[in-house]
């Protein structure tokens, strides 16, 4: 249904467009919100269950014993903290049916939102247990800490794990993280997996909810093993299989505007690669100095077998290096990811807004919208030359009987605000807003839309952050 009259030009058809008749391209399956909702209930259920295990495992007399209250607080924070750590891993495990609904960026936002909790809870766990045991044993906290580290099985490794977690937590605080190169931060962040792995044993061996409860031990171990399996399957296995199956490589680098290039890639069996317009891949260019990092870039058009196109603006080291990438370079992909698709639409029509290079996701999303869907498109740029892909967007809008407004000028001259937006889009109440662009721009447009009464479920955004 998305066969478009506006094709990007492959390298073998400069403008003659002698494409083979479009083969049926596999459509992406629609997201299933019910499954995501069930996952939410399940996630909450797990938290309730681990709390209940801790509470029922405690007797009134244990609580009344010296240090009992502190020890109980230690158990509760420990269980809740390690359970939340499990949820943190699941949030970034790319489980397809969850990702399709929430989008990778939405899941990562949630991951960041929750992040302080497991670390704080686990630090509190260590402090409570040390204080509680010290009180029970009538010794000082320092002495008791020594006893715990040397005398209790697996506590030393768990403490090391907690140290690693706290350190990674610190460098992930926004103010610190901004000073680190993205790749450096990412490599360090992988240490979390190690920290979790070495902390696992002491829970099973010492946790009051687990000792003498083989069933609980089994369920807990299976939950973690299952999570590790999902991470390996969806973060490693599936990307490898897709990369090998499609064997993408660069065939052409084409300038599109100031600092903007399109990479035309070829691949095998791209008709089997189910992508929705507006989605992105993490691209790993297998060239010297680049192979070890994967960067997210949106497709700037729907796949057009045997071609794929991404359009990139030189902003960071990686995107700048892409302008000089050699044709023939092989590419490994992770994805497609993102919920910024036509399936997210809740109201009859769509308003698509993009600034700068945000036009790439808008362009492929637009291509995915049905004919006669009458979208309104707002493109914002500071200079006319920055309106890349403008011609393609205009043509797509025309084919869908939509309207396009190109707002060129400074932020003041070409503002999108609570005054100009209703004037440009009179039927705002019947439209979903899709906005894509730099983070500051997206935040401002989303704020404007909320103030104008567009409900949250009708606002969809994709922000580029460095």
């Amino acid at each position: 249904m998305s066969a478009s009259p506006v094709a990007f030009e492959g390298p073998d058809s400069p403008s003659t467009r002698k494409r083979k008749p479009a083969r049926h391209v596999r459509a992406a399956a629609p997201p299933r919100p019910a499954l995501a909702r069930a996952s939410l209930v399940l996630a909450g259920g797990g938290l309730g269950a681990v709390s209940a295990l801790t509470v029922t495992g405690e007797s009134a007399s244990q609580l009344a014993a010296r240090g009992g209250v502190l020890t109980f607080a230690g158990s509760l924070t420990g269980m809740a903290g390690s359970y939340l750590a499990l949820i943190m891993v699941l949030l970034v495990s790319r489980i397809p049916f969850v990702e399709r609904v929430a989008g990778l960026d939405g899941l990562i936002r949630l991951h960041r939102l929750i992040a302080p909790w497991p670390i704080t809870l686990l630090l509190a766990h260590a402090l409570f247990i040390t204080a509680g045991y010290a009180e029970a044993a009538r010794t000082g906290a320092w002495h008791e800490a020594g006893t715990l580290l040397t005398g209790y099985p697996d506590v030393l490794t768990a403490t090391l794990g907690l140290g690693v977690m706290a350190a990674i937590g610190l460098i992930s605080v926004r103010a610190v993280r901004r000073r680190l190169p993205r790749e450096t931060w990412w490599l360090i962040h992988l240490g979390m997996y190690l920290a979790l792995a070495i902390s696992f044993a002491h829970i099973i061996v010492l946790g009051p909810a687990f000792v003498g409860h083989p069933l609980t031990q089994l369920v807990w171990s299976l939950a973690w093993a299952g999570t590790a399996g999902l991470v390996l399957l969806y973060r490693v296995g599936l990307p490898v299989v897709r990369s090998v199956r499609h064997r993408l490589r660069v065939v052409e680098v084409r300038p599109e505007g100031p600092g903007v290039v399109s990479l035309i890639c070829t691949g095998r069996r791209l008709d089997r690669l189910a992508v929705s317009g507006g989605q992105f891949f993490c691209w790993r260019f297998l060239a010297r100095g680049m192979w070890w990092q994967a960067h997210p870039y949106s497709l700037s058009a729907l796949p057009q077998p045997p071609y794929l196109r991404l359009t990139v603006k030189a902003v960071g080291d990686h995107s700048s290096a892409l302008a000089s990438i050699r044709p023939g370079t092989k590419i490994a992909i992770e994805g497609p990811y993102g919920a910024f698709t036509r399936y997210a639409q809740r109201r009859p029509r769509a308003l698509l807004v993009a600034a700068g290079i945000g036009v790439t996701a808008l362009r492929s999303l637009l291509e995915d919208l049905p004919r006669g869907s009458a979208p309104v498109v707002l493109l914002r740029a500071s200079r006319p030359a920055d309106l890349v892909l403008g011609k393609e967007v205009r043509e797509l809008v025309r084919h869908r009987r939509g309207t396009i407004h190109e707002l060129v000028g400074s932020r003041e001259e070409a503002a999108i605000d609570e005054v100009s937006l209703p004037r440009l889009v009179p039927d705002l109440d019947h439209r979903d807003l899709y906005v894509c662009g730099p983070e500051g721009f997206v935040i401002s447009i989303v704020g404007t839309a909320r103030n104008l009464g567009i409900p949250d479920e009708a606002i969809h955004h994709e922000a580029f952050a460095l």
């Binding site: 797990g46 309730g48 295990l53 014993a65 609904v101 003498g212």
Partner: protein, 166 residues
Amino acid sequence: MKRAPWLVVAGAVAGFLGVAGLHKTAPPGTLASPGTRPASHASRTAQPGRARPEGTAAATPAPSTTGSAAAPAGPVTALGAMENYGYGQLATRVSITGGRITGIAVPVLRTAEQYSQQLAVQVIPTLRSEVLAAQSARINAVSGATYTSQAYALSVQAALDKAHFG
């Protein structure tokens, strides 16, 4: 999804009630505090003070009541106080036959975690033979298990007091 927080809360409540309910309906002893075994009918002799052993409490059968099975006077048993010692709690039951301490059982042993449980199980036989040898609760603590030893001695002393021994 606007309702997401509510779904999580609903799940959490359901999960909590589910597990707590399972715990309630489970036969006593299967899901109770760590290291528990089904209660023995024998622990009715005398109730220790504040910390009472519950219905689901552990009642480890006496390790073995050293060869005084058919003593003429018949054994007198007394249950010592439940001692909380931080890492857990224990109570002892002392058997006295013909004016001699002939057996000490530990009907209640509960610890917060596996490590303390293992430690207690290891040292209890040592403590028992010390009491049998000394014929009193004045025993040396086993090193590395000071608190367990103290609790054991205190509980034994309480049992001996109750039986008007010595």
